[in-house]
């Protein structure tokens, strides 16, 4: 039976193999884009203080005077050994930046996604099923507003609102200063929520959780608008599907028709598009991190771009790209699990 329904393990293996060329293309694009941009890390950091000769010397020391092809091959070789280089100014390994700050960005993104899905899917389903009712109109307005509202503005509004209502609720950073000091020792996963939980430090865990609420809500709010509208239109379309009418003709009750036939089919395109939203969410994470003074790779990336730090930007963009690539792998696998037609 497995062969006639398409083999899931084979499909997944194929998708994993496809990651290699995908990552290679991403690395190449990142490398080239940064070389095309004007300026270089040397002139950006110390350009106004040193002579042209001294600058050249610095460039040579960093290997920036070598032919582009050599730099490119060198870069690829290093990446293959998981060496993303060191930052220009502080000589910190990029990998340790990703390790120490990537966790914060990941929890922010995952939290935002969870919130967006929890709001978006039920609302979209309700709106789709009870199309053109006042409830549907209200949900549609929510969808447009949440998608159109600028992220930083929503964030600032939330901060102001929370400060007015509950002044003691945290609106800044990923943890209270004291928790931060206490939790220095927790470095098992470099994801603060998980680490405090693993250490059994309940008060620290709750503190971190509270700090997560506003940033995740802000980012999740943006994302939920897309999901609401996506789920709604797909439920409407699925409800007009031929198989839905056929199910009704077999006397299947309306509740079951919506649940088993329309809703499940509506989710297939939603999964794909929601997966694509990961990229959008990551760029949203950069803004959210700035708003809430969040110690993630997003804010680090903004800083290094300002410094023209090729190596750091290269490394961090690669991190973002790899996250997107792996998310799309996960999306593909979920799709294959849900939809038997995909497995071919």
């Amino acid at each position: 039976m497995a062969s006639s329904s398409g083999s899931l393990p084979r499909y997944i293996a194929l998708r994993v193999l496809l990651i290699i060329p995908l990552v290679w293309v991403l690395l190449t694009v990142v490398f080239l884009l940064l070389r095309v941009a004007p300026g270089d890390p040397v002139s950006a950091t110390v350009g106004d203080r040193l002579s042209e000769d001294a600058l050249d010397e610095r460039r040579a020391a960093a290997g920036l005077d070598r032919p582009l092809v050599v730099q490119y091959l060198d870069y690829l070789g290093n990446v293959a050994r998981f060496d993303f280089g060191n930052t220009f100014r502080t000589d910190t390994p990029i990998l340790s930046i990703v390790r120490d700050q990537g966790g914060a960005t990941l929890t922010l993104t995952v939290g935002a996604f969870l919130i967006a899905l929890l709001i978006g899917i039920p609302l979209g389903r309700l709106a789709g099923r009870f199309r053109d009712t006042p409830g549907d109109v209200a949900i549609r307005v929510y969808g447009v507003v949440s998608y159109a509202a600028p992220l930083f503005w929503v964030g600032i509004l939330l901060v102001v609102l929370v400060n007015a209502v509950a002044p003691s609720f945290p609106t800044n950073d990923i943890a209270s200063p004291f928790t931060k000091l206490d939790s220095e020792a927790y470095t098992k996963t470099h994801i603060l929520v998980v680490d405090t939980l693993l250490a059994g430090d309940t008060s620290a865990f709750l503190d971190v959780l509270q700090h997560h609420l506003l940033p995740c809500l802000t980012l999740g709010f943006l994302l939920s608008g897309v999901i609401v509208r996506l789920v709604r239109i797909n439920v409407i379309q699925a409800l007009q599907g031929d198989y839905v009418e056929a199910a009704r003709a077999r006397g299947i009750g309306e509740g079951r028709v919506v649940r088993k036939h329309a809703f499940r089919n509506a989710l297939v395109p939603v999964i794909t598009v929601v997966g694509l939203q990961v990229a959008l969410t990551l760029s949203g994470a950069v803004l959210t991190e700035k708003t809430f003074n969040w110690p993630g790779v997003g804010s680090a990336l903004v800083r290094y771009i300002g410094e023209r730090d090729y190596i750091a930007v290269q490394g961090l963009v690669t991190f973002f790209a790899v996250v997107v690539v792996f998310t799309s792998l996960i999306v593909d696998v979920i799709n294959a699990l849900v939809d038997p037609r995909v497995r071919y």
Partner: protein, 358 residues
């Protein structure tokens, strides 16, 4: 031929059992942007157990609406009126829940597009299990399996395919699956809405054979909606010809086909293409707008035999001596109805039809 017909009529009169389905002056109206659409406008017929009634007519004449209307599968904003009895139950006054219970269990439907009628995310076995569980509470797993396999067997699909997904089947197989899925509950009455239109000729013959054999297997009554007159001649006991929401002629299939009484039936038959066809015949013009159908006989603007009276008064339904029922002034006149000179004068038409067409 005549003897045959007389025998057929006798058989019809003495057929055992009450009609399974009876429609009397059934109307189905949609709400349209420019007023109500009278898609089915006063239709009467009955079906005996195991009988196959063919329903023919042009696209847009209300065939499919009638079929869906019988099952109550109408969109929001559609209304049904008249009398519709299924084994003594008044279908039009049923509550939604009762209607759901009847649908599938007693009233089945086979659709035109088999490729899109099965849920792509569900295995065939899940389709069967869902259908059986909804209608027969507490049915055992073993019984579900047995009944599903039995349905596949009757449809000629290997039992190994029970757990396959819809996309793994060809169009013809999917239509057989749909039929199996409809018949697994043994409904007494099934509407087949152009079940072969999307399929190739060989598969079409196969499906028609299956439908034709249903009465022997299950004693199912069938309303077979089609615009393929060959299928009607092959598979149906009786035929109803529909035009602009009304049944204009209904009777024994052979009688209607060999001696059509209504001008529309005759023109429809003339339009059929076969190997012996020498020229292409078609009926000029298009079916009327059902929000504002023509006065008198709805067919008069396109009818080659139209008389003055056709545009003024609607012809009454009359039972002919061959047992058909027909609503046509010209048929009445040929059967001896006395019409005045003015009434039987050829209809004067405004010459806009051709220009409109172009």
């Amino acid at each position: 031929m005549n003897i045959d017909l007389v025998e057929g009529r006798d058989g019809e009169a003495s057929a055992p059992g009450e009609p399974v389905l009876e429609a009397e002056d059934l109307r189905v109206w949609y709400s349209g942007p420019s007023g109500p659409v009278r898609a089915v406008d006063g239709v009467s017929f009955s079906l005996r157990p195991g009988e196959i009634l063919g329903l023919v007519g042009e696209s847009g004449c209300g065939k499919s609406t009638l079929g869906r209307g019988l099952l109550g599968l109408l969109p929001d904003g559609a209304a049904r009126d008249g009398v519709l009895n299924f084994r003594g139950t008044d279908l039009l006054s049923l509550k939604a829940k009762q209607a759901y219970a009847l649908r599938g269990g007693s009233l089945g439907m086979i659709f035109q597009e088999p490729l899109t009628r099965l849920n792509p995310l569900m295995r065939i076995s899940e389709h069967f299990a869902e259908t059986l569980k909804v209608h027969e509470k507490g049915i055992s797993k073993a019984e579900i399996e047995r009944r599903s396999l039995e349905a596949l067997r009757v449809m000629g699909i290997p039992p190994t395919r029970l757990r396959a997904y819809p996309h793994e089947f060809s169009g013809g197989m999917r239509q057989r699956l749909m039929i199996g899925l409809t018949l697994v509950l043994r409904p007494a009455f099934v509407v087949a809405d152009e079940p072969t239109t999307a399929l190739d000729v060989l598969v079409e013959a196969q499906i028609i054979r299956i439908l034709h054999d249903l009465r022997a297997t299950y004693d199912t009554s069938l309303l077979l909606i089609t615009h393929n007159l060959g299928i009607i001649a092959e598979a149906c006991d009786r035929v109803a010809v529909m035009y602009a929401g009304k049944i204009v002629e209904i009777g024994d299939a052979r009688e209607v086909f060999t001696r059509p009484r209504h001008s529309y039936t005759r023109e429809l038959l003339r339009s059929t293409i076969s190997l012996s066809t020498t020229g292409l015949n078609y009926i000029e013009g298009a079916p009327p707008d059902l929000t504002d159908p023509p006065s008198g006989c709805h067919f008069h603007p396109r009818c080659p035999d139209a008389m003055a009276i056709c545009a003024q008064r609607e012809p009454a339904v009359r039972t002919t001596d061959a047992g058909s029922r027909v609503a046509c002034w010209d048929a009445d006149r040929r059967d001896g109805l006395a019409l005045s000179e003015a009434e039987s004068a050829p209809l004067e038409r405004e010459e806009i039809a051709v220009a409109d067409e172009a």
